[in-house]
Amino acid sequence: MSSWRQFAAILRKDIVMELRTKEMLTSMGLYAFLVLLIYYLAVSQANGGFNVGYIAAGLLWLAIVFTSLLGLNRSLVHEKDQGCLDALLLSPIDRPVIFFGKAVGNLLFLLIVEVLVVPMFYFLFLLKTGLVGPVWMLALALLVGSIGIAGMGTMLATMSVNTKGKDFILAVLFVPIMFPLLYAVVAASTAVVMGDAVFFGEWAKQYWQSLGLAAGYDSIMLLAAYGLYEFIIGA
């Protein structure tokens, strides 16, 4: 049995299904744009001196969180529908391979949505102030955060899809668990957006430290999720 072959099959299946229906990407993308509009509402009455840059990173990650909650649920509902998950469980596949297959698929879709939304966000809110740090630093922060969101999110959604509350349950579980990661990546992203205005002369150091902590979160929590996944997928 080749785990790699099985992993690739799951990933390919999710991509083919998504390309065909475009269900997840359109709903996630549209949702993200709606959130951006709501952001404008939130800052529309702030006085002229208000610099959106201070909260820009937070707003951006918030949009990503809301969008993820939407997408994660749909990804797992596909499996539960028609009992397909049972067919997978009956096959000689290691349970964690299912986890990786689904999680990487979710990560991919999330990154695609980010590629669309982040430039849009910049265009709508940050054109005037611009970024202090280079774009690649922001991209790296987005990647590290998205890995955690996709991984833990896949695990939590596997549970929530089997409950009565579904979307609501996912949100209730997701936010407190993801808090430390989100806190760290917002700090890292703010460092890139605002630089020394917020971090008093050492924004790069703060960036790397925050990113390191976020990566630490990813490592520990994803390891735990990997170890625990077989208990929840069979239940």
Binding site: V172, L173, P176, Y183, A187, Y217, A224, A225, L228
Partner: protein, 253 residues
């Protein structure tokens, strides 16, 4: 149903031990309180009626009283974390054995955690009122315990939304373990990354004198004793209820 023999420990009935421990625990916690307020000296250097200079800032005597809350707040905070450990521990035991009794224990441990975590937040709130004059501050410990409250509530919400007993226990165990891992990570990250809005003033009681330390530790032991007794009473109640349910089912069967 045959009557279970009265269990004894060292010749004294277990019940008596329970009440005894509850009493001792309460007494210890009260002593902790009393000592804190009346006997333990104020932070080193502060005279009774004047001001003290701490970290280069003049602090009035009234604010120093806020430090008294530490004697309750910090022990209950640490205790709640220790009890939360048992949520994760019993979760692990359940996943290993699939024995329902571990699920019941994990649930009760989480109930006790909820109680203690709420007490932590309430006393923390009182502390910030005295310390900062504000009813809430997003400082690392309070933020982490706020998250812990949400995690514990999430645990119960999750359980309530699942009808199948075994799945409920399995999901509860897994989430309990993940939640327990998340709490210290939250604390570490909020401590290491300063929030630019609220600079963290770290005053964790460094420099406690003998009496201060003694009352602090007494409070902790007292609280852990109370936690343990509450756990045992709840556990006994739950197991009795389960035996009753089983008997009912057997009669119908």
């Amino acid at each position: 149903m045959e009557a279970t023999a009265r269990k004894t420990f060292l010749g004294i009935p277990v019940d008596a031990w329970m009440y005894g421990l509850l009493f001792v625990g309460t007494v210890l916690t009260t002593i902790d309180f009393v000592l804190a307020f009346f006997v333990a000296p104020l932070v080193i250097g502060a005279g009774a009626g004047g001001t003290a200079v701490i970290n280069g800032v003049a602090v009035s005597n009234q604010l120093l009283f806020s430090q008294k809350i530490f004697y309750f707040h910090v022990p209950v905070a640490i205790s709640s974390f220790l009890v939360f450990f048992f949520t994760a521990y019993y979760g692990v035991r359940f996943l290993m054995t699939k024995d329902k009794k571990y699920d019941t224990k994990a649930r009760i441990a989480t109930e006790v955690t909820l109680l203690f975590v709420v007490l932590t937040l309430v006393t923390g709130d009182i502390w910030t009122r005295f310390e900062w004059g504000a009813w809430w501050v997003w400082e690392p410990r309070l933020t982490t315990y706020f998250i812990m409250t949400l995690l514990v509530i999430a645990y119960f919400v999750l359980r309530n939304s699942i009808e199948d007993e075994e799945r409920r226990a399995t999901y509860g165990a897994v989430f309990g373990i993940i939640a327990f891992l998340d709490a210290p990570i939250s604390f570490a990250i909020t401590r290491l990354i300063p929030s630019s809005v609220h600079p963290v003033v770290l005053r964790t009681g460094g420099g406690l004198t003998g009496v201060q330390l003694a009352s602090f530790l007494m409070g902790m032991f007292g609280m852990l004793m109370i936690a343990w007794v509450v756990f045992q009473f709840r556990q006994r109640e739950e197991f009795a209820r389960e035996r009753l349910d089983a008997a009912k089912a057997a009669l119908e069967g």
